[in-house]
């Protein structure tokens, strides 16, 4: 059962920095990340300035969604007490080929366990909380 959805970006411009472009990208299955044209490098998660220059030398660019599993953990998330569904997940920290790390739950292949070094790509899905989000699908 999907709990009453509260979109994580409900207050996207007020609670943190303006991440509207990231969420617009998600809605059309594109990974939009911050890019510093001075350093010629991406950064993620979004920040109010470039981590390379300390200045607001930032734009949003679509990033390649391919990458490699850097590390993983497995556990139960969600809380019945808090009204959300409990489920087992594999969580990965992924090194995207564009040079940033991305936290994501993993679309686990049926045939085998996920391992560090596995290749895959970011895909988009309906999160159990009721909004479109991303996860990492291991290559078959």
């Amino acid at each position: 059962m999907v709990a009453a959805a509260k979109h994580p970006a409900e207050n996207a411009t007020r609670d943190y920095i303006d991440s509207t472009e990231f969420w617009r990208g998600i809605s059309r299955s594109a990974l939009m990340l911050q890019y510093c044209p001075v350093a010629k490098a991406f950064q993620h998660y979004p920040r109010p300035v470039s981590i390379y220059t300390g200045r607001r030398t930032l734009e949003w660019r679509e990033a390649s969604s391919t990458g490699t599993v850097y590390t993983i953990t497995e556990g139960m998330i969600g809380s019945a007490a808090a009204g959300s569904e409990q489920r087992d997940v594999v969580i990965a920290l992924v090194e995207l080929d564009v040079g940033v790390r991305l936290l994501a739950t993993v679309d686990v292949p049926a045939s085998r366990e996920v391992q560090i070094g596995d290749r895959g790509r970011v895909v988009f899905f309906e999160h159990p909380e009721g909004y479109i989000y991303y996860r990492f699908r291991i290559d078959a």
């Binding site: 994580p8 970006a9 996207a12 609670d15 943190y16 991440s19 990231f22 490098a41 991406f42 950064q43 993620h44 998660y45 979004p46 981590i51 390379y52 850097y70 590390t71 993983i72 953990t73 497995e74 556990g75 998330i77 997940v89 969580i91 920290l93 090194e95 040079g99 940033v100 790390r101 991305l102 936290l103 994501a104 739950t105 560090i116 999160h127 909380e129 989000y133 996860r135």
Partner: protein, 388 residues
């Protein structure tokens, strides 16, 4: 401007409890009363106060002021130390600097928190959008990720982590301030059988939120003597590193700010890892101890497990680690946890370790860690050397 060495000239600690039903203010009052009782000084002599930030009172930006009011202290120096598990260390260091600058003469550093009774914090920032939806709700998942990567790079550290957990529990059983729920021995087999919280992280790799408080009195050696405080330890080094290598989005997860602060710390104190008599290392999770041993230079990078397995880390051993049981086995009193091992270091250097007194008690290295970030080990690293 004072040139007399900065010292810690008193300590106090309240037993750690799980869901005490009491607030951080109640705990602060208890520990302040004990501090005055143990040092026999009138409260009017205390003219400085550092309060550690608190999870249970995290929504109050004026916590330090409310605490000064609650404790009836007039302060010429007031500080809110908000470096997570490094708050106590940073508070003591800031008190020392304020004393050297002539702003205060005698400062109390009080850390009190009651997160197992009441939660009052919201970390905000990017977490709701980019972290929590991926299942990384708190430190266990972050440390599960860290442990996997560590094992991938350096080999499975399970046996060493088991030794740390078992040794610290043995220490905690000799500590009257240990939380009742944790007051039972554990074996290697118990450790191995404990459930995975965030695989490969086990329950017995992890701390349990509790309630508690600790306090320290900071002044100069000259002033301590002048008011009759004959027991004190000198602060001979302090260094921090927060957010190391911010321009490297691919910084190895197995690195921390301790790599950068260690040379500065040891240069200040003139000590080196081989000369350290006791290590009171911040221990929210067992793997953090291995990494600190490596990053502080007790052993080579990746050799932490081997070092632990080959070293007697008990209170009577060659390198006693977390002789009070640490927060892993005493219980983690929220953000007062950083003071837990600091108080234990002072207690040991005062020769008041009781049944768990270390053999060599001329110096101690104490560390603090704060804040679990996105895709990195931890943000804040701090370390202090103390000498009797």
């Amino acid at each position: 401007m004072s040139h007399s060495p900065i010292v810690i000239a008193g300590y106090a600690e309240i037993p750690v409890k799980f869901r005490s039903g009491r607030s951080a203010y109640e705990y602060a009052g208890q520990v302040f009363d004990q501090l005055l009782s143990r040092t026999a000084i009138p409260k009017e002599l205390i003219d400085g106060l550092s309060v550690s930030s608190s999870l249970s009172e995290g929504s109050n930006p004026f916590l330090a002021g409310y605490m000064a009011e609650a404790l009836g202290l007039q302060c010429h120096w007031l500080n809110l130390s908000a470096l997570g598990g490094a708050s106590s260390l940073a508070g003591v260091a800031a008190a020392g600097a304020a004393i050297q600058a002539g702003r205060t003469r005698l400062a109390a550093v009080i850390s009190a928190d009651a997160p197992s009774t009441k939660w009052g914090s919201n970390y905000g920032a990017y977490r709701a959008e980019f972290q929590a939806p991926n299942g990384v709700m708190g430190p266990p998942a972050a440390f599960g990720l860290l442990m996997s990567r560590y094992a991938y790079q350096y080999g499975d550290p399970t046996e060493a982590l088991a030794k740390i957990a078992v040794t610290q529990r043995r220490h905690a059983l000799l500590n009257e301030n240990t939380c009742d729920k944790l007051r039972k021995p554990i074996s290697r087999e118990d450790y191995l059988a404990s459930r995975f919280v965030a695989k490969p992280l086990r329950l017995l790799d992890s701390v349990m939120f509790c309630d508690g408080a600790n306090a320290l009195l900071v002044t100069t050696e000259d002033y301590a003597r002048s008011i009759g405080l004959e027991k004190f330890v000198r602060i001979t080094g302090y260094a921090e590193c927060s957010n190391p290598n911010p321009g490297d989005p691919l910084l190895p997860l197995t690195e921390s700010g301790f790599l950068q602060l260690a040379p500065r710390l040891f240069e200040q104190s003139g000590l080196s890892p081989g000369k350290i008599h006791q290590l009171q290392a911040y221990d929210d999770f067992t793997i953090a101890i291995l990494m600190q041993l490596e990053h502080l230079g007790f052993c080579e990078t990746g050799a932490g497990a081997k070092f632990v397995l080959e070293t007697d880390i008990s209170f009577s051993g060659s390198l006693p680690i977390n002789t009070g049981g640490g927060q892993l086995s005493v219980g983690q009193p929220g953000l007062a946890s950083g003071g837990l091992n600091l108080v234990e270091a002072v207690r040991q250097l005062f020769g008041e370790g009781g049944e768990r007194q270390v053999r060599r008690a001329q110096n101690a290295l104490v560390t603090g860690i704060g804040m679990i970030p996105y895709g990195r080990s931890w943000i804040i690293s701090a370390a202090m050397t103390l000498e009797a």
